[in-house]
């Protein structure tokens, strides 16, 4: 099947129907292996057992950023090629990216409590992740405010692109601001290198989370296509009556 065929929503639906069970199954297998490895991983000599939270925290942080990256690519599809499937991809990615960013914040704060003695510190990484979360919520709010789907897609695409420009600047300024205000609680991961015994499970978990992300994204895209189909049918029905 050529890439161009995927651009047709109906073909995409067929492909999604076929691949979602396989992707889901693969996700479960990799997760089982990853969690097994994570449980067997040795404790960090500085942080003890709480290093196990890292296996959740780091992959969800990565997926929070991947979500915005995906939305940025889709935004080009929306604005340049006016492709409906790009709209669908962008809309489906927003809640999933937001959920993983929230997960990153929650696990980060649960990790912070035993390590730093408080649930929240204005640590540079946590802070920029919080701003990312707020931006996700803003995009979702925009999607929910504009009635017409393709107009909502274009407004959201512009916000996504502006966010993609601003996010690195936010990251940089938060880093700068953080080192200015509190150098003491800057957080280091057990020295400068990660041991292979901890790195391996982390990588497996990252792969598992990424698979989960794409499975959910594919399923959410399928839902969105169906939702648009319902909308089109309702409009047709309304037109037929009037």
């Amino acid at each position: 099947m050529a890439i161009a065929d995927l651009a047709n929503p109906s073909r995409f639906l067929t492909l999604a129907n076929r691949s979602i069970p396989w992707l889901g199954g693969l996700t479960v297998i990799v997760f089982a292996y990853g969690i097994d490895q994570a449980m067997l991983a040795p404790d960090d000599y500085q942080q003890g057992a709480t290093v196990k939270i890292m296996f959740l925290h780091v992959p969800s942080a990565w997926l929070g950023m991947l979500g915005w990256g995906l939305m940025t690519v889709a935004a080009f599809g929306t604005l340049v090629w006016r492709h409906p499937l790009a709209d669908v991809a962008a809309k489906a990615a927003a809640p999933i990216g937001a959920a993983f960013t929230l997960l990153c914040l929650v696990t980060g704060s649960l990790w912070g409590r035993p390590e730093w003695g408080t649930y929240w510190v204005w640590d540079a990484r946590l802070t920029s992740e919080l701003v990312l979360f707020l931006l996700y919520l803003a995009v979702i709010a925009l999607w929910r405010t504009v009635e017409d789907p393709s107009r909502a897609a274009r407004a959201a695409a512009i916000l996504t692109l502006v966010g993609a420009i601003d996010l690195p600047i936010i990251k940089f300024s938060v880093d700068w601001w953080n080192t200015l205000h509190q150098g003491a609680s800057v957080f280091r991961l057990g020295g400068s290198t990660i041991y292979p015994t901890i790195l391996m499970p982390l990588l497996v978990m990252a792969v598992a989370f990424t698979l989960l992300f794409f499975t959910l994204h594919l399923a959410a895209m399928r839902n969105e296509i169906l939702r648009r189909r319902v909308r089109t049918l309702r409009l047709m029905q309304a037109n037929a009556v009037s």
């Binding site: 959740l56 809640p95 959920a99 696990t107 959410a220 839902n223 169906l226 189909r229 089109t232 047709m236």
Partner: protein
């Protein structure tokens, strides 16, 4: 800091992950069912895409 206390935080983190990921999966699945049901309902009432006169129109409507 006693390890038992730490265990609580680790369990809480894994539980939070389970809740959030579970909520995502539930949302996606319930949404799928709801859309399928609505489509079936519309189909039952005789509103269907197949009633569109030409494939060209169908394409145009999908893009709308």
């Amino acid at each position: 800091m006693d390890p038992a206390n730490h265990m609580g935080f680790i369990v809480a983190a894994y539980a939070a992950t389970l809740v959030i990921v579970g909520a995502l999966i539930a949302w996606v699945m319930l949404d799928y069912r709801a859309q399928q049901r609505t489509l079936a309902e519309l189909d039952r009432r005789g509103v269907s895409r197949r009633s569109a006169p030409a494939p060209a129109m169908e394409q145009a409507k999908e893009q709308a």
